[in-house]
Structure formats: C-alpha cells, structure tokens
Symmetry: C2
Subunit: 138 residues, 2 copies
DNA sequence: AGTTTGCCTGATAGTAACTCTCAAAATTTT
DNA sequence: AAAATTTTGAGAGTTACTATCAGGCAAACT
C-alpha cells in the first residue's frame, strides 16, 4: 500500500491532481486508513495509469468517469469499453500524425534559423524587414 | 486577403480562438479594413501556423508572445529565437515518446478486451470481480 | 512531556486557455 | 430593400488543473 506521495512519484502525477482525480470518482476502490489517509493498492495504481493514459490523449474527465463507471458495472459493458479504447486509439494516432507535422515545421524553422546564423543573413521573412519575400508557410 | 472565417477554415483554428490570439498580440501586423474588419494576409496566415505549432506542443501563450516579440525586434534576436525553436523541438520529441507509450498501453488494452470478447472470459482485472489476478499495469 | 517537523486533509481561490453568448454593426444574398 | 449571414467586442462560462491555507495527526528531536 502506498501513500499519495509515493504514488505521485511512481506515476508522475502530482498529489494535487491525484486528489482531484480521486474526488472526481476516478479511483472507486481507493481505501483510507483509520486516520482518513488514502492508501493506494497496486490496483489503484493501475487505475491511475489508465486515467493518465486517457487524459494524455485528450479524453475529457467526464468521459473518463463514464469509462470508470462502465468498468465498475462489470462484464456486461466489455464491448462498450472495447469500443471506447478503439476510438481513443484512433484519436491518439491522429494526434501522432499532427505532432509529426508540427515537428516537421519545427525542423524547417530550425534549419531556417541555422542558415540565417551561418550565413549572417537577414531574416527576410520577418514583416518588420520591409523586403519583398516569399511566405514562410511550410 | 482573407476574412477570419476563411482563415479559420484554412488553418483549422476556430474564429473565436483567432480573435483571442489576435487580442493576445500574436498577429502584430494584422490589418483591418475601413470598417474595422480583420483582413489576414498570407504572412498573417504564416503567423497563425507558427502559433498553432507552438501551442500544439504545449508552449504557453506567454512564451509565444515572447517569441513573437523577439521576431518583431528583428535580426538581433535570431540566435535567441533559434534556441527557442530547438528547445521546442526537444519538447515535441519528448511528447512523441510519451504519446507512443500511451499508444502502446491502448494497444495492450485493446488486445485485452479483444481476448475477453473472443473467449467470452470474465474481466478478471476489474476489482469488482473479486478474483485473484495480476496487475493490469502495462 | 512538550514541541517541532512533516505529511496529510478538505475547502476554497486562482489560473490558463479557451469557448460561448449576445447585441450591434457590416456585408452578402435574394 | 429586405433577409440572412458575418464580423465585432465585451463579458460570462467552462475545463482541468494548481496553489493557498488552516487544521489534524504522528513520529522525531529537546
């Protein structure tokens, strides 16, 4: 059994956020000791990890709560949960593509500045420099 | 020259957000027509794209404003801007790795449910089913 | 024994970055 | 010219934290 501090370190989720998530009903089986202090089991930590996963790909807290509730309801909701995971995966893949695109743009920008620095050129794209120039759009 | 609606469609950033960004000082060269209506040039659209890029990798608006201000200041800030782009790229790469990790978890979950459905098994991980079981942690 | 230290608690306030609503202009469509 | 659509700014509302604070409890020093 782990205290909130240990779980925060283990999962890289702040204590504040863990309490917030607990209050949001994300850890329905989380127990307390006789002094009202939260004690996380390994299972609770697994819940933290799945919540963290869903959050990190942009799932809203309301939707996460719904997923948790489906879990609690047991076997009859397996198909529904399966579909949620599938949709989430698709969303994550889309984010991957988007992130890749932005990384390409950053790459382009980096080279742009590199060239500028190496050749001591002016930043002709900057509209402040009133020079005829091509658009910087990648 | 484009109206805000056209830019919203072109860049996939909502009109609301474009106005919010404009008010935040992200498009310092954005012009208006005689009736106070914003008219975006190709350059302004390039600004929208770089702001979108920085935002999408988690750069705070305050930091974006700082970058924009550096751009306005001209050549003397090229090295500083270069460093910002480099750091942003590193951050984006880190996000890529994190997203990959979460995608692996979703893959694992998907297969877990698939197996459950195909074999009509019980969801032994769900703490609701009081069965001895291994942790679900990936 | 007393007190300090440190972690934990809930309640509440504050923050970032939108997102929405609205009413009044401006523009476009019919 | 009337109707429908856009654009505008101001301001309220939302989400998901994040920080602050006072108070409780327990173990460690003095």
């Amino acid at each position: 059994m782990y205290t909130i501090k240990e779980v925060a370190q283990k999962t890289d989720v702040s204590e504040h956020t863990l309490r917030f998530w607990a209050k949001s009903g994300f850890f329905p089986f989380l127990k307390r000791n006789q002094n009202n202090i939260r004690l996380f089991s390994e299972d609770d930590i697994a819940w933290v990890k799945i919540v963290k996963c869903l959050r990190s790909v942009g799932t809203e807290n309301k939707a996460i709560k719904k997923y948790i509730d489906l879990c609690i309801m047991g076997d009859s909701t397996i198909l529904e949960r399966y579909k949620i995971i599938q949709e989430t995966k698709q969303k994550a893949k889309q984010q991957m593509r988007e992130l890749k695109k932005q990384l390409d743009m950053l790459d382009y920008k980096e080279k742009f500045y590199q060239n500028l620095i190496e050749n001591n050129l002016k930043d002709e794209w900057n509209p402040m420099n009133k020079v005829k120039h091509e658009s910087q759009a990648v």
